[in-house]
């Protein structure tokens, strides 16, 4: 699982709001082609973009029956999960290679963003006992 973490904008929105139109278009086009290439290669299991942190809600069950739902965005987080890919690949090296590609998505001025991409392995079922 490759998790793309983006810095939070000033008002809890996406930082991309301030980008020049052309750079934004290039970025969006890059992400679409990137995901399509993974899909064409048969490596993509799932990919989702998440709604903005302003739409986030936090739920925590409480013993005293107080309202358990809090509205986002949450001040304590500087970065948030913007989206993720789940890929099915032969090696960890290939997963890192894909993550590096996503990290280098173009930003303002066409320069690579070098966003942090967190790579985590999805756990598998236990081995079959003989």
């Amino acid at each position: 699982m490759l998790m793309m973490n983006a810095p939070k904008g000033a008002s809890g929105d996406w930082g991309v709001m301030k980008w020049p139109a052309e750079d934004l278009k290039a970025h969006i086009g890059f992400m679409k082609r990137f995901t399509k290439a993974l899909s064409d290669a048969g490596e993509l299991v799932a990919a989702e973009g998440l709604a903005s942190p302003g739409q986030a809600r936090q739920v925590r069950a409480q013993p005293n029956g107080a309202p358990p739902i809090t509205d986002g965005p949450f001040a304590e987080t500087k970065e948030f999960l913007a989206g993720y890919w789940i890929v099915d690949v032969d090696s960890q090296a290939r997963a890192f290679e894909i993550a590096a590609g996503a990290s280098a998505a173009p930003g303002p001025g066409g320069k690579p963003l070098n966003m942090p991409i967190e790579v985590r392995e999805v756990m598998s079922a236990p081995p079959v006992e003989a």
């Binding site: 929105d13 996406w14 991309v16 709001m17 301030k18 980008w19 020049p20 139109a21 934004l24 278009k25 969006i28 086009g29 679409k32 082609r33 995901t35 399509k36 899909s39 990919a47 973009g49 709604a51 903005s52 302003g54 739409q55």
Partner: protein, 419 residues
């Protein structure tokens, strides 16, 4: 179905699906189990027909195979059905189930009965959509799951729950009586509209592998229109779908980004489909009994008739939206009417209307309201105000292509502001 089946056989299979299902349901009086059996028969056909050739009587073949699955299914419950299966296995499918003389008439009613059943008001819209696509559309669970981007097991559960709900509701397997026919037909049209909209609103970008939900909705609505040609709202819905779908080639750019109506290259619009849709709605409107689908189709036709966006007949569109607003409770109609109002009487008039709508709780906080406000502010020359509203709208939408569109609008204005 599979790539081994050619397109003609596949469309034949999907056309036959409803009549086969109806025949099996009638014989065994168990819709839920019959639906599963017919799915298995369709899958079997998609594997065997390419190898063994098309049978002489394809629907007889499918009914036979589905019936055999059914008898397997109920064997433990009934020795009588077991004998039925044995005797059925002796003859060839074609001998056993030659099409009756009135096959055409039977098929006509079967599709209707199934549509009414699958769009039963006791089902949630998402369940009705899934069941309709499988039972009437002949799509496999895997195809439907892919179209809605959910795992196959989730979709299988949804369909199975829908069938349980229908079973529990004890709807008889026949057309609804005249008393609730109108409301039941309304539910059918709504489900078909949702299927179309799902395909139209999301047929973008990373979802290229989806089955074409819009085309499927048009196919099913066409089938319904053939059977209920005198119903003006059925014709209206079909016209609306055609007139909207005709713009599809111009609606997305090279990177799959949304292109709004004013920026579309109208040369890419499908003129033949527009002509079909326009002819249909022009024939239908004089029938009287004007309803929301006919009005939306008429509005789409006015847009499609304009050679350039600047030549759009906005006074006519405003008049149509005003009628639509009177007979429909949908707040999105009011939003669209505000845009038409601005195009006829200026941005200020549109913004005034929006201020009234903003007090309507069902629209407050909805991104569409902010998006329309942004558009009208831009029209009025308030660029900073427009950027703010595009940004708020982008933050509130949960659709990726819409968000990208709205962010791009904000960025475009920010760029022109500093230039």
């Amino acid at each position: 179905m599979t790539d081994r089946l050619n397109a003609i056989d596949e469309s034949l299979l999907r056309d036959l699906a409803p009549q086969v299902l109806a025949a099996v349901t009638r014989r065994f009086r168990d819709f839920a189990a019959a639906e599963d059996a017919v799915q298995e028969a369709l899958v079997a056909a998609s594997v065997q027909w390419p190898k063994e050739g098309l049978p002489d009587n394809p629907s007889g073949w499918l009914i036979h195979v589905a019936a055999r699955r059914m008898t397997d299914h109920v064997r433990s419950e009934s020795a009588r059905r077991q004998r039925e299966e044995l005797s059925a296995a002796e003859g060839s499918p074609d001998q056993q189930f030659a099409p009756p003389a009135d096959a055409a008439a039977g098929e006509r009613d079967d599709t209707l009965v199934l549509l009414f059943m699958c769009c039963h008001p006791s089902l949630t819209p998402s369940s009705a959509i899934a069941l309709t696509l499988r039972a009437v559309g002949g799509l496999t669970t895997a195809e439907i799951a892919k179209a809605f981007l959910v795992p196959e097991s989730t979709m299988a559960q949804r369909i199975s729950r829908a069938k349980q709900t229908i079973k529990a509701s004890r709807v008889p397997f026949r057309l609804p009586g005249s008393r609730d026919r109108a409301s039941r037909l309304g539910a059918v049209l709504h489900v078909l509209y949702l299927i179309f909209n799902e395909g139209y609103a999301t047929s973008i970008g990373a979802t290229l592998q989806r089955v074409e939900l819009s085309s499927e909705a048009i196919r099913l609505t066409r089938a319904l229109h053939r059977r209920l040609a005198a119903d003006p709202e059925v014709a209206g819905l079909l016209a609306l779908m055609l007139l909207t779908d005709a713009r599809r080639p111009a609606r997305t750019g090279s990177d799959g980004e949304l292109i709004s109506l004013d920026k579309q290259d109208r040369r890419l619009w499908d003129r033949a489909v527009i002509a079909d849709g326009t002819a249909l709605i022009s024939r239908t409107l004089p029938m009287g009994a004007v309803g929301p689908y006919q009005l939306q189709a008429a509005i789409a036709a006015v847009h499609d008739e304009a050679p350039r966006y600047e030549e759009t007949d906005w006074p006519q569109i405003l008049a149509l939206y005003s009628v639509l607003q009177r007979i429909s409770s949908n707040p999105m109609v009011s939003l669209n009417r505000a845009v038409a109002l601005a195009m006829v009487h200026g941005a200020a008039a549109g913004l005034e209307e929006l201020a009234v709508l903003e007090k309507d709780t069902s629209l407050a906080g909805h991104y569409r309201l902010d998006a329309v406000k942004a558009h009208l502010r831009e029209m009025s020359g308030d660029l900073q105000g427009a950027i703010d509203c595009y940004t708020i709208a982008a933050d509130r939408t949960t659709s990726v292509p819409e968000r990208e569109y709205l962010i791009s609008q904000a960025a475009r204005l920010a760029g022109s502001d500093t230039a």
